[in-house]
């Protein structure tokens, strides 16, 4: 399944605001991170430190089931305030 992943901050600068990756419906946070790192090795460290959000909620579990309508985002370490 093609999944669009929203990117922000350094990740968005490097890869653009959205990337599309191809993954099975039942996947893992690690698989999503690996697919994004494969696009550009420069983002590896930031991707490793990022958290996944699905439908604007942080995901804590490692295994996930995605629906085609899910909003998937990779959240690099935040730095507001």
């Amino acid at each position: 399944m093609k999944i669009s992943v929203k990117l922000f901050a350094f990740l968005g600068d490097q890869l653009g605001p959205v990337v599309t990756i191809d993954l099975p419906t039942n996947t893992t946070v690690a698989a999503i991170k690996n697919a994004i790192t494969a696009l550009d090795p420069l983002v590896k460290e930031t991707v490793e430190n990022s958290r996944l959000a699905i439908n604007q909620e942080f995901i804590n579990q490692s295994e996930i089931t995605l629906n085609s309508t899910d909003e998937v985002a990779l959240i690099p370490p935040v730095s507001g305030g």
């Binding site: 604007q56 942080f58 985002a73 690099p76 935040v78 507001g80």
Partner: protein, 133 residues
């Protein structure tokens, strides 16, 4: 009722303070975060803030809700866009019946905001551009 805003509009402290004033509160604690010039040897010229809307607003709501349920009032405003030195980046205000909760809740919100709310800064320093801290 809480007031939470993430926008490119300038933060007016007086206006936000007014939202915290009510007869049931005896303590109002406010934190104002501004753009600092020096971080050790690094000199900052400007900071550009961006946010993941509306997840950032939802995360702020999660911070405010338990405090409001416990009898406080929460006002948070965060800027996005490009800010100059001394510009206000964030305002956190908490009104509570007594000062102890006002201090505690205000600190909780700014500390947790820095961990849990998807907002990012891009620092334009004199030597280079830096993302985050």
């Amino acid at each position: 009722m809480h007031y939470l805003r993430i926008s490119d509009q300038p933060i007016e402290v007086g206006e936000l303070y007014e939202k915290l004033v009510a007869p049931e509160y005896g303590g109002i604690d406010m934190f104002v975060g501004t753009v600092r010039q020096w971080t050790g040897p690094v000199e900052t010229k400007e900071i550009e803030y961006s946010a993941y809307h509306p997840m950032a607003e939802r995360q702020l709501e999660k911070l405010a809700e338990p405090i409001e349920a416990a009898g406080g009032r929460v006002v948070v405003a965060h800027r996005t866009g490009r800010l100059k030195l001394t510009d206000i980046a964030v305002f956190v205000g908490v009104a509570a019946p007594h000062r102890a909760e006002a201090f505690e809740w205000c600190r909780y919100i700014i500390d947790t905001l820095k961990q849990e709310v998807p907002i990012w800064k891009k620092e334009y320093d004199t030597d280079k551009v830096r993302w985050g801290n």
